[in-house]
């Protein structure tokens, strides 16, 4: 059961996905001890909703990728503990949303599916990583540009792609994450969406997502294989990615299937360090 949540829905009234968000929030509040946060009334009744948000875990329901509800949470400094996006859910469940603003068969079916998914996930809990210690002793080279410091690991076990993601390969598994370049650009990371355990990943496939008030970034996997564990700590403390994206802020561990072939399209420290410096200079001048 989803219980004791503050629910912040998108409530966009002129889009089908917004109307579904609203209905889903109402349903979640009807059946359990959850409280709704009205995004419109929040603008004028700040104290009321801050109090509700303070006393509950926060579930944010975005209608579409414009992410108005997530942005509102970021603006109000609320810590999101779970979220979902209606258009994504519809896609995942092969339900086509049209432009109708009344809930019809499809929309109601989607609401039922999401409700049951939410409840099941809550009951099962999430499988987490057992081992959180570092795989290796990271050694860094640093590059400073104005007040920003960028660390890049020099260890030969660490490989990079040109999409600013790294993989630390030990035996037949790899830990993966984003580099300092990504975390500095996003600034304060507020939300981490882990990949599914057991998901099969292609090289350059997306594995998990992080979000700040500025932007969203999907990790582009340097390696192919299967997700064997995720960094559960990040779900509660995504800010660890800002602190150290290599030792604390890794996303997941991948059981490797064809690293010899993956390696052909990866680079080592020397090359990545140069590429990253060029990118930083392009942005900051």
């Amino acid at each position: 059961m989803v219980e004791n949540y503050a629910i912040l829905p998108c409530n966009g009234l002129d889009k089908c996905a917004g109307v579904i968000s609203r209905e889903l929030a109402i349903r979640l509040c009807e059946n359990a001890k959850n409280e709704i946060i009205c995004p419109v009334y929040y603008r004028v009744a700040e104290a009321k909703y801050n109090k509700i948000a303070g006393g509950h875990s926060l579930l944010v329901i975005d209608g579409c990728q414009t992410r108005c509800a997530s942005k509102l949470a970021a603006e109000k400094n609320l810590k999101i503990s779970q979220k979902l996006t209606i258009t994504e859910e519809a896609k995942n469940h092969n339900i086509e949303l049209k432009s109708n603003l009344r809930l019809l068969e499809n929309e109601n079916a989607l609401i039922e599916i999401i409700l049951s998914d939410l409840n099941n996930a809550q009951d099962q809990g999430r499988r987490s990583s057992v081992e959180t210690s570092s795989l290796i002793n990271f050694e860094y080279e640093t590059y400073q540009n104005s007040k920003f410091i960028f660390r890049v690991p020099k260890n030969p076990e660490v490989y990079f792609n040109e999409n600013d993601c790294w993989a630390c390969v030990v035996g037949n598994r790899a830990r993966i994450g984003v580099t300092d370049f990504v975390q500095q650009n996003l600034s304060d990371i507020l939300y981490f969406t882990p990949p599914e355990i057991d998901a099969e990943i292609d090289q350059f496939g997306e594995v998990g997502e992080i979000e700040s008030s500025k932007s969203v970034f999907e990790l582009i996997s340097p390696v192919s294989g299967k997700v064997i564990s995720i960094n559960e700590t990040l779900v509660q403390k995504p800010e660890l990615i800002n602190e150290n994206p290599y030792e604390l802020g890794w996303f997941a561990e991948i059981g490797l299937t064809d690293f010899e072939s993956d390696k052909e399209l990866l680079i080592g420290f020397d090359k990545y360090f140069e590429i990253m410096k060029t990118k930083v200079e392009e942005i900051n001048g």
Partner: protein, 96 residues
């Protein structure tokens, strides 16, 4: 300056860029604001107000702008096919 190679392959040989579905796009221009690589161009006075101007500026394997596009109007080539193609080109070039 934009990258001219990706993994040692001339950027021009790699087909990776967003495609705009004009039946869905509502010209909110969130993608333009979002992407720092000057891939898109806004054309205020034209009928089609947004085009992909510099496809080679698009970061290979990035699909970030499609994630912030509300109406889901942006699509990309298949990643596997693209990485396969990059491998082939690298092989051809190292043999030739």
């Amino acid at each position: 300056m934009s990258e001219t190679t990706f993994m040692g392959v001339e950027r021009d040989k790699i087909d990776w860029k967003p495609a705009i579905d004009y039946t869905k796009c509502d010209y909110c221009m969130e993608c333009v604001k979002f992407c720092s690589h000057k891939v898109f161009e806004v054309r205020e006075t034209e009928d089609i107000k947004l085009i992909v101007r510099n496809p080679n500026n698009c970061v290979v394997f990035c699909r970030a702008c499609s994630k912030i596009c509300g109406p889901d109007a942006l699509s990309f080539p298949d990643k596997n096919a693209t990485s396969q193609r990059i491998r082939e080109i690298r092989k051809e070039e190292s043999n030739g």
